[in-house]
Amino acid sequence: MNNKQTEKQIGQSFSNVTPDVYNDISARCPTRAAVKRQRSANWGWKLSTCALALVLVVAIVFGGVMLGTQGRQSAVAATVTLDVNPSVAIELSTDQVVLGVKALNKDGERILGDLDLTGSNLQTAVYAIVGSMTLGGYFSVDNSVLVSVDADQSLYQSLVDKVTSEITVILGSQNVQASVLSQWITQSESAKSIAQQYGISSGKAQLIAAILDASQNAYTAEQLAKLNVNELNLIIESLNLPQDVLSHNGNNASQSRYIGREEAINKALEAVAADLTLSSLSQTDVSRLQCKMDNDDGVMVYEVELVYNDWEYDVDINAITGAVVKLEKELQNYRPYDDATRTKLSEEDIRNLVRSMFDLPQNQWVQVSYDRDDGVYEVKVNPNQGKFYEIEFNVYGDVISFSEEEIEIMPGPVEDQWQGGAPGDQYSAVMNYVITQLENIYKQPIDRSKMIDFTYKLDDDYRSRNVWEVEFKYQVGNIMYEYECSVDIDTMEIIEQSRDIDD
């Protein structure tokens, strides 16, 4: 049992022994009439400075006066949720008067500000909300809106049509061609749990559940929950989501934030040409060329696939910067073979071969393992800052697959067995620094190769900073020490550290 598990157990146990007295409490809390919601004053921008806002306010006041407040006492008959990145829910009475508008995330609060849309009609509310999102800059590069309707199915289509046409008109007036996704909220268990776990709207959660289904879990819910609707829309374009799950107004998601498909293909061709030491490579030289958008650990990428000669390439291009994030190649249809005229290489031969490939010193760490079943040497090496390579060789030292990947300086939670590692790379530099600091603090030299249970991960306590939490155990005589240290890897500040006896 480690500290995290103990912590979790404590949380669970207290939760399990907590008596349920909700009904008693609820009985003592009289229903309260709606009071204007108070907010802290730090929501950045002021609506009143913008001309469009004036129009909105007039529209709202006018709409409110026109429609009066006849719907106020009614029960909620339908909820329409708009997700862009701001998420906002509009509650409607049976006669489609707005009973209330709720922000479902922080961006939602920001765009709602003090807008009170109670008593207005649906179109007015959509107009005000989408207008406010436009002012907030949410459609300056993106164009996607997710409309989710939680209502009797008979109301679904008419509500979607109204909302979609309103959005199309408003964004059209700003020269944005809206890509509107719409869905009927089915209250599925999977969506509910995603919504709850990640604190997102049930509409966005349902969309994420659908993507997970259609992609056969190629992503994680956690990964998708961080994306905005435009990014999700781009991923959806490469999947085939059934029409009854999600309907679409036909406009593609905006890629104006990104370099575009053509540019991505060119970048990939350049990278492949460089890899093959060719002067150039054009689209006509390669076969089976494909390019689709994807999200790789939170980074939007173009995934370019192509075949050249016997090599199958898979190149990921950062969709914003155009940088090569990953380059993988594999020899098609490779089968191990015996060739009596060639010398079979040992692990150490392979290690030396890799050192010469990357021009590395003799003491450079190169991890080599031999897969007996396939007759293949698998090599892992990070020879320079920011790159990590995995290469497979056959027993004669021919490369049969190769993968080059950028090392994320902010890896997600990972566990590792770092024991000194390669000098020079940033990861090892951070670790060496941390351990040297701990050596100085506790006046105890640490032999890097004898650390036990070495782990590091991003410290969730510091959301806005790149803080790594490093943990390991180290034995001195009969005593096993447990070290912990949090370091800001941008400033190298040691934020917290401790050493305990682990017994």
């Binding site: 049992m1 500290n3 103990t6 912590e7 979790k8 157990q9 404590i10 949380g11 669970q12 146990s13 207290f14 939760s15 399990n16 022994v17 907590t18 008596p19 007295v21 909700y22 008693d24 409490i25 609820s26 003592r28 809390c29 229903t31 309260r32 009439a33 709606a34 009071v35 204007k36 919601r37 108070q38 907010r39 802290s40 990145n85 209330g100 709720k102 995330n105 922080k106 961006d107 907030g136 800059g137 949410y138 300056s140 990640y198 604190g199 997102i200 929950a225 961080k226 994306l227 905005n228 939170g298 306590d461 959301r463 912990e484 917290e496 401790s498 305990d500 017994d503």
Partner: protein, 185 residues
């Protein structure tokens, strides 16, 4: 404008529920209760060391919080706010009722027997209450159950951050030993 991705932190969900209550929204009280009741109860239990008093304090905390919600100003520390209400109520109980607390460990065990929970849960709770000092168990419960950050706990208890961190780790280790040693402790 820069890309905004967002996962709603727990403190923000709690804030939203409190605003919802102030705003007369149905279900907000239930949401707040679901998010915070175990932390409030656990906290009250660590202070009163008495199952029945803790239950009283929990009820009173929610009722008081419900009344105070319209005047609530978020400082991104809603849990700390709720626990400070709970603490004042515990103090009121001490003042009004001198018999209160310091039930013996045996009495506490008997009280916990009345709670529907499994053996491990009872062991964890009882160990927290009887094997840790008042300050240690407050720190453990605030962080492990209430999700209050160590920095915030340090501020509330007026202790240096390092003290909170080391007390927390030591307490966790004690509990870990007890749990791994089974019920021998």
């Amino acid at each position: 404008m820069s890309r905004q991705t967002y996962k709603m932190p727990r403190s923000h969900q709690i804030d939203n529920a409190i605003y919802g209550i102030a705003n007369g929204e149905e279900n907000s009280l239930r949401t707040l209760y679901q998010l915070t009741s175990s932390a409030v109860y656990a906290y009250a239990l660590t202070v009163t060391k008495n199952v029945f008093d803790a239950q009283d304090v929990m009820q009173e905390t929610f009722v008081k919080m419900y009344d105070a919600a319209p005047n609530y100003i978020s400082r991104n520390r809603p849990m700390a706010w709720m626990l400070s209400i709970a603490r004042n109520l515990c103090m009121d109980k001490f003042r009004s009722n001198s018999r209160l607390t310091d039930v013996t460990d045996e009495q506490l065990e008997a009280q916990l027997q009345t709670v529907q929970a499994d053996v491990t849960d009872r062991l964890v709770v009882q160990s927290c209450l009887s094997k840790l000092s008042q300050q240690e168990r407050t720190i453990v419960v605030m962080h492990a159950v209430g999700g209050v950050r160590h920095r915030e706990i340090a501020r509330q208890l007026d202790l240096p951050l390092n003290t909170v961190l080391s007390k927390y780790k030591r307490s966790l280790q004690k509990l870990k030993d007890i749990l791994q040693g089974g019920k021998d402790e």
